[in-house]
Amino acid sequence: MKKTGNPVKWSAIIIIVLALILVFAGFKNGEHKSYFQKAILICTQCIGLG
């Protein structure tokens, strides 16, 4: 059977491992708290107030 596509790549697995490390590192940094602080106040830039 002929198919288009690329060979299975380990790249996906490596990205997943790196991504998990990033999520963990960001969490340890308390990054989610900065999203929270921004997200619970009306963002004047988002709504076009400046």
């Binding site: 060979p7 790249s11 790196l18 590192a25 999203y35 929270f36 106040l41 009306i42 709504i47």
Partner: protein, 318 residues
């Protein structure tokens, strides 16, 4: 159309509707204009969904990236005056968590959140159903979204500082039509005090919103294909994701049905693994020969024959 195909497409519509409601389920906010301030806002949705929408329950990943890069992540902005200090501050305030979260999704399913979950992507699809002449647009435009990701989401918030040495979310401020639609208009309607303060920026953003809503009637998902920085972030993951689309060229009869339904105007038999594919699987559902598959670690024959669809089926190589 085969019954199964109809069901397949319907499931996606349901998923898009459900995701829209789940991300914007704070209905109380739509009555008084007070946004949700609960714990869920610590978490981002995997799609472009404005966190200033009075109904939004989660954070927007593109907003979160800009806020973190702009230095709201606990950095002492008053201590940062030189470029060198600013660079080291950025290194410590890089949006690791949201990049990791989006990369995790991208590495598994590629750009599927765009096809299945994003309210603004869905809106563009719905508008495209309006019977008007349809166009393809230049293939070159797809590169604009990468520039917007790099310049408006990362570079400008990091380096263009205001009088208090703080950065700003430039994409939100000057471009995002989802913010204008989901945050700007509902709040302008519900909050008379805010409405009075709106000026030229709101006019500019309203113009952009109307432009993209109008273009969506003539082009398939123009904002997703050309402008959206989140689409730009996900796009390269289509090339490496665990789940991937494949097309069996031996059984394909070049009927062109897949190309006809593709919401991002791909010439599907040629571009099945395009970075522009939103993994909606409409092509898979409609193919009468069942030659399109979506599965983990798809096999490859490393044969890249080009199968041309029949003339007159439309489609755009992206």
């Amino acid at each position: 159309m085969h019954a199964m195909h109809r069901t397949g497409i319907k499931i996606r519509t349901w998923a898009q509707a459900a995701a829209t409601v789940v991300s914007n389920g704070y209905f109380k906010g739509l009555t008084n204009g007070n946004i949700y301030t609960g714990q869920l806002k610590h978490v981002c949705v995997p799609t472009l969904n404005c966190y200033s929408c009075p109904a939004a329950m989660y954070s927007c990943p593109i907003g979160a990236m800009q806020v973190t890069v702009a230095g709201a992540g606990g950095i002492d902005l008053t201590a940062i005056h030189t470029w060198g200090a600013r660079l080291s501050a950025i290194a410590t305030s890089f949006p690791l968590m949201v990049i990791g979260f989006l990369a995790l999704i991208g590495a598994v399913v590629g750009r599927a959140p765009c096809g299945w979950l994003c309210p603004f992507g869905w809106l563009q699809e719905l508008l495209n159903k309006i019977p008007l002449p349809k166009f393809n647009g230049s293939g070159f435009l797809k590169y604009v979204k990468y520039v917007i990701l790099i310049v408006f989401v990362f570079a400008l918030p990091a380096f263009w500082l205001d009088e208090f040495d703080g950065g700003e979310p430039f994409f939100c401020k000057y471009i995002c039509p989802a913010g204008t639609l989901e945050g700007g208009y509902p709040l302008a309607i519900l909050k008379p005090d805010l409405r009075k303060q709106l000026g030229w920026l709101f006019t500019w953003k309203s113009f952009l919103l109307l432009l993209f809503l109008g273009l969506s009637m003539l082009f398939r998902r123009p904002f997703c294909r050309w402008i959206c920085p989140l689409g730009a972030f996900y796009a390269p993951f289509n090339k490496v994701s665990i789940y991937r689309l494949e097309l069996d060229k031996d059984t394909c009869i070049n009927c062109g049905l897949c190309t006809k339904v593709c919401p991002v105007n791909l010439n599907v038999p040629e571009d099945i693994q395009s970075a522009e594919c939103v993994r909606c699987l409409d092509c898979k559902s409609i193919c009468p020969k069942g030659c399109i598959s979506f599965r983990p670690f798809g096999k490859d024959s490393s044969q890249h024959e080009v199968v041309k669809p029949e003339a007159g089926t439309g489609g755009n190589k992206a």
